[in-house]
């Protein structure tokens, strides 16, 4: 199986002695939609910062797009792996939206015409064209989030990594975000999302990685989300749909549904 991201026995300890990653291994397939789940302190954010060489492995190996991540390759990888941070205020720093989206492409050394084209395209993709001359502090949280994503899209990365993308977003903002994800997925971008939202993972992902204490507890398809042993061990909860069917043991279902579509199918059969 060809992995676009391959991690073997990764260790990372912070200066204060916190051991964030302790022998993590995983493999992510090209073009997949991956949800990384795990309790607070499982090492999700630390893992994400390894994917484009912000952090370098203290022990173990990280291979991204077939190349070992190290001090030499980190620079190039940064234009191929896009990182969207949880708080858009950490990421969107320029004094106008347009300038901020241009930051990545300009760092890549692209000519001005190409930069302008990419900025235009990225802003169109997140529907923020009309705000291009606005200052970031005039925008709402959801808008800032979209600008942060545009800033990464403009670099046209092969892999986009997002930390808690739906946190604090209103339902409409979440809907917009999922529509952007869908489009990127169709275009072949590999999407990695670290989240606490099991419902999002169940409905959206095609690969799930469950982390705990800096290690991979399990990786596989979304059916992992109904396995009681995993859910309990990783301090997660069942998807809402599963919770409903778990409270109806008398139905005697062999496999519990975890998405709305599956639930609808089961119910239709029962009716």
């Amino acid at each position: 199986m060809a992995c676009i991201v391959e991690i073997e026995d990764l260790h990372y300890t912070y200066r204060d002695g916190t051991r964030a990653l302790q022998g993590l291994s995983l493999c992510i397939r090209r073009g997949s939609r991956v949800a990384i789940l795990g309790p607070n302190g499982a090492g999700k954010s630390t893992l994400l910062l390894h994917l484009n060489g912000i952090y370098l492995p203290q022990r173990g190996r990280v291979r991204v797009l077939g190349r070992e991540v190290n001090a030499r390759t980190a620079g190039e990888l940064r234009s191929r792996v896009g990182l969207v941070f949880q708080d858009p205020d950490d990421q969107v720093f320029s004094s106008t939206v347009e300038e901020d989206v241009a930051f990545g492409p300009l760092n890549m050394g692209l000519p001005p015409g190409e930069v302008a084209r990419r900025v235009q395209e990225a802003l169109a993709a997140v529907q923020m064209e009309e705000y291009r001359h606005k200052a970031p502090y005039h925008l709402s949280y959801g808008q800032k989030k979209r600008v942060a994503i545009a800033g990464v899209l403009a670099m046209r990365p092969d892999i986009i990594v997002l930390d808690e993308p739906t946190a604090y977003l209103d339902p409409r903002g979440k809907g917009n975000l999922l529509a952007i994800f869908d489009r990127l997925h169709r275009e072949g971008t590999t999407l990695l999302v670290a989240t606490h939202d099991v419902d999002l993972a169940a409905a959206w992902a095609d690969q799930v990685i469950i982390m705990k204490d800096g290690q991979t507890l399990a990786q596989g398809d979304t059916s992992l989300l109904v396995r009681e042993d995993l859910i309990r061990e990783a301090d997660l909860c069942f998807p809402l749909v599963t919770q409903i069917f778990r409270s109806l043991p008398d139905l005697g279902l062999p496999v519990l549904p975890y998405t709305v579509e599956q639930a609808a199918r089961v119910l239709r059969k029962l009716l």
Binding site: F85, Q91, S94, T96, F103, N107, Y137, V152
Partner: protein, 273 residues
């Protein structure tokens, strides 16, 4: 959000556009304003200073600057410059202008003191007016770009850029902390030596520092993630137009002329007669 700051016209990123002065090259404006301030601090007579101020006011009128914003700008310097101006007439030795006496206490103002206060206030006024004219007709963003294209150290320019950008974020954070404090019944306003008040305020400030520091770390990581290498790439400026240079020379001719007049003015005037 940040209402009081936003009213401060200079901080707004997009200066309202429109006048001829808005259209001049920011680099020329920056150099001209710096030189104008330097030259006007060299002026020694209140007449020439008043003329310089009058010229700047005329420029401000051409630029259609809002009077209120200018007033707000002047209010900021009042605590600093105002006190000096109030004190000067009474501490400068010279010819007595008037004198109050209450028993053993006496307070006298001198003509020299008043003259110095007037010159000083005109100088301060000219400097503030010039800077306001620059910032309000250029906007912060273009001003920073001009600074970096004029060769100011990138660290310095970025420092200013980030200060303005994160002022609002940190301000919001502080406001949220204040609200959260109030929600648990904290009431400030007792004197500062009240132990609980002092402790709480100290912790708030400390926490704000820690949070800002952590945010700084995250912002830096986010910048690295987009390929930051220590320099913020900015689009190159077009070459200077002759029009901009001519405008700059015209503006600078005023304080320069006034200075020359001060130096040898009487001689010229005599020779004209």
């Amino acid at each position: 959000m940040g209402k009081t700051l936003m009213q401060f016209e200079g901080l707004d990123v997009e200066a309202h556009t429109g006048s001829a002065i808005h259209a001049f090259d920011p680099r020329v404006k920056l150099v001209v304003v710096a030189a104008f301030i330097t030259l006007s601090t060299l002026l020694t007579s209140w007449v020439s200073l008043a003329l310089a101020v009058g010229f700047l006011l005329a420029l401000a009128a051409v630029a259609r600057l809002r009077v209120r914003a200018l007033g707000a700008c002047l209010l900021w310097i009042l605590p600093l410059a105002g006190v000096t101006m109030l004190v000067l007439p009474f501490v400068t030795p010279g010819e007595a202008l008037f004198r109050w006496e209450w028993g053993v206490l006496s307070l006298g103002a001198t003509r020299e003191g008043c003259a110095r206060a007037l010159v000083l206030s005109l100088r301060v006024f000219a400097a503030v007016l010039a800077v306001h004219l620059l910032v309000a007709t250029t906007g912060l963003r273009r001003l920073l770009a001009a600074m970096s294209s004029l060769g100011l150290p990138p660290v310095l320019v970025q420092l200013m850029d980030f200060t303005v950008r994160y002022l609002f974020v940190v301000g919001d954070e502080l406001r949220r902390m204040q609200v959260a404090r109030a929600a648990r019944g904290f009431r400030p306003g007792r004197h500062l030596f009240h132990r609980h008040t002092l402790r709480t305020l100290g912790q708030t400030v400390g926490l704000l520092f820690v949070r800002s520091w952590e945010r700084g770390e995250r912002v830096y990581q986010a910048m690295l993630a987009r390929g930051y290498t220590g320099k913020i790439p900015r689009p190159a400026y077009p070459p200077l137009r002759r029009r901009d240079l001519a405008w700059g020379a015209f503006v600078l001719a005023v304080p320069l002329g006034l200075r020359l007049l001060e130096l040898g003015g009487p001689v010229w005037l005599v020779s004209w007669k």
